[in-house]
Amino acid sequence: MDRDETSELLSAYLDGELSEKDRAVVERLLAEDASARQLCAELQQTSQAMSALPQRAAPASIMEAFQRGAEREMLLDGPVDSERREPRRILRFGRLLSLAAVIGFLAVTSVWFLQDLIVPAPGEKNSAIQPMRSERVASAPRANDSSNRAASGLRSVKRKRALPTPQKDAGVSTKGERLASAAKRTPDRARFAGKAESKSDLDSMASSESKLQEPIIRDRLLALASADQKLDAGLAFDSLLGHSFDNEPIRLQLVAKKSTGHTVISRQIESRFRVQKIADLAEAKPIRRRDAAQGFFYEGKKGVNFSADHEKQILVRIPARKLGQFIDAIPLDEFDAGDVKLKHGPMVFRGTSAVTYALRRLGDKEGEAPMAPLTGHDSKNLQDRNADRGGHTADDSRTVDGQNDGTGMIAGLLDVIGMTSRMLESQVPSKEAPKEAEQVLADTESQAGGVTRKDAGPRVTSNAPMSVEPSTTPGTKVPAAKLSPALAQSDDSPIRESSDSVQSLGKVDASAKESKQAQRADPTLTLVERRQREVEERVFKRSSAKTVDQDMRMESVIADKRPVPGNTRIGLAEEASNDYITLVICVAMPPTEDTRDSSKPSTKPASPGDPPVKPISGQDTAKKFQ
């Protein structure tokens, strides 16, 4: 060993990691060479200096982030199962793999069923096949996890080289032997081998076994679907109780007074935040670092991600804790307070003060921020609106005392109105809700006869979860028995109360009871049908085809559930850090002169038997609410 090689052993010598032989060599070198001794001493000092570097305590948010992540994991995948033998992993492309696994499992299952139409006689040996079959039987998954089954099915598919070919009978085989042979072919059937009396029994058992897995697959798909997708699919609202809204964007809908309305917002964002302004969402790259450049903002283009003629979309993705700062930058005062709307999943907030409050609560991790007092402008708007309607003011200034039990934005939004996710699950009605529910019902009815704001902004379609109604096939009635117990209650439903009380912030209606009675006069109408009628009435009010087209296009924008291009990357980044909020600011342009003149309503009733629709005007609406 030469001198240089021996020098390389100095660090190991200092750490006591040398063998007896090597240590002796090094000690001999140190005894003979002063420079080696000096080097050894300096290396030791360096090592000690490293050990003496100041240490930093872990931030408290690590525990909080873990709790959020664990709860989210439980919502999606269920609790940690101690009986599971295989570790659960979060795959970066978990959703895609899960779907692929489900498809693979279904394909394998169908192959097995087809395969069993031909049952070779027992005693026939096929060395190329039987080991694989026994291997499949041995590797039959025990857990009821559909993803595990699908994964094992995929592995079996990979090992399989060729379908077994039927061979000539070597001799007479008994029925039991044939059943036993068929049972060996599939792991599912192996379990039924001792119970089945005929091949048809085997088939039916295996079929029922696969049908049992369908709910598992369905539940898995439900966990992946967005809130709007679930409602569009006709699922009851209680399917959203366990839904996580973390990765769904929030829509802030504004109606500009001038054609440059969106530019004002864009400039404010650029002036207040150091963000990326990208030309295409394809440029957005997944960033995993906190406070990193995920604060880009992207100005949507018509025809690219939405089809509205007169709407501008600005997508902003910012850290949650900067949301309050961001809200201050948006000049909401320049928009009519009645036209400011915040929509997230089934929750809708209206009015500048309510929207601002909701956004601040979303951005506040502690969840304890008190509601900002109404500004003079907000108060005046509120009072003016109340004066027109002649009713009392809803309690906008109440603080939220509810606990923020759930994770995600939906819990935060529920927290705003003083309800918790646990209250939803326990279906305990709020004490203040019935009054607000009446107000909102009246508000809904009043809107059926007119508009409460400028009709230049996007409209909500029947598909949009504007109110908490179970989305069903249009025209069908939903029996109360099919609804969740919460929804089955007409006015005391806490779920309806949660959304309705949100919508009722700032809303007043002295004639709520009258409207409600009118609604009850026609009990044959379902909530979905009433919503449909509202949309149809608004469409019939437009006399010009162009306006109708615009309206339909606007509705298609709202109904368009296509994700923003590049959303996959955003989702990936959000998986890395749940501290970011995606905010889509939709600024509807004011109507042009042509469209304004042609927007006079018609008095044609929506359908026979309905009362004639009154002409729409702002003054009429104001009088209606007096």
């Binding site: 390389e8 052993l9 100095l10 660090s11 190991a12 750490d15 990691e17 001493a41 300096e42 290396l43 000092q45 360096t46 090592s47 200096a49 490293m50 050990s51 570097l53 240490q55 930093r56 872990a58 948010s61 690590i62 525990m63 982030a65 873990f66 992540g69 664990a70 994991e73 609790p79 940690v80 101690s82 599971r84 033998r85 295989e86 570790p87 659960r88 992993r89 979060i90 650029e270 002036s271 935040f273 150091r274 963000v275 990326q276 302004k277 990208i278 030309a279 440029e283 790259k285 960033i287 995993r288 670092r289 906190r290 406070d291 990193a292 450049a293 604060g295 910012i318 900067k322 890395a576």
Partner: protein
């Protein structure tokens, strides 16, 4: 000539120090459904893990993200965790792999921090420059100060990932060579050579201070 048989690389077993009984009890509780028990493990190891990853990454923010994710991954994979290996060694391995992956991605996708107050707008990829704001974060202050420690930290950050990992695992975490080899999946001989080279580089950076101490 016949082809050499390619042997599959065996999964390295984490042979570590005896696992504390407290950890065993907490792990069993978590496996039995007590999620809160995992919080005990987090409280016990988060400081040490955070500190090590922070020294490796050079950024407290990155370290926080990595540690969070490491705990979450370990929680999800706890069912498959074998008690023969120490929990801390196991989670440290997870965290180190995450940190190494993060460093690779950083080199490919540089990012811009939002903590800086200065405004700078540019188009497209020019915005994505890897420029850290100096003097505005604790990390920058530590690197920018005078004295041996800032210089040592700066020299540590200048090492490549492989050498930095070894020196952090040894001098900060006090893992032995075998444990380091298992965590990083490298032979013990490689650990020796990398550690020596890393210390030599750090020594060069702080030689003036070493000479002063000698006097």
């Amino acid at each position: 000539m016949s082809r050499p048989i390619r042997k599959e690389k065996p999964e390295p077993k984490l042979i570590s120090r005896p696992i504390p009984l407290e950890d065993v009890e907490l792990i069993e509780k978590v496996r039995n459904g007590d999620t809160d028990a995992f919080g005990g493990l987090i409280k016990k190891y988060q400081d040490r893990l955070f500190n090590a990853i922070w020294r490796f990454c050079g950024s407290a923010d990155d370290a926080q993200d990595i540690v969070q994710e490491a705990f979450l991954k370990s929680y999800q994979g706890l069912a498959g965790f074998r008690l023969e290996a120490g929990f801390y060694t196991w989670i440290f391995r997870i965290a180190m792999n995450l940190a190494l992956s993060h460093r690779r991605r950083e080199r490919q996708n540089p990012s811009v921090s939002l903590t800086s107050q200065s405004l700078e707008l540019s188009q497209g990829a020019r915005l994505l420059s890897d420029r850290r704001s100096n003097g505005e974060s604790d990390d920058a202050k530590e690197r920018g100060g005078s004295g041996m420690q800032p210089r040592l930290v700066a020299a540590l950050n200048e090492l490549d990932d492989q050498h930095r990992a070894v020196v952090v695992l040894r001098d900060i975490e006090s893992f032995d060579y075998q444990e380091i080899g298992e965590i990083l999946e490298i032979p013990v001989g490689t650990v020796k050579s990398r550690l020596h080279r890393a210390r030599m580089a750090l020594r060069m950076a702080i030689t003036p201070w070493l000479a002063a101490e000698k006097r």
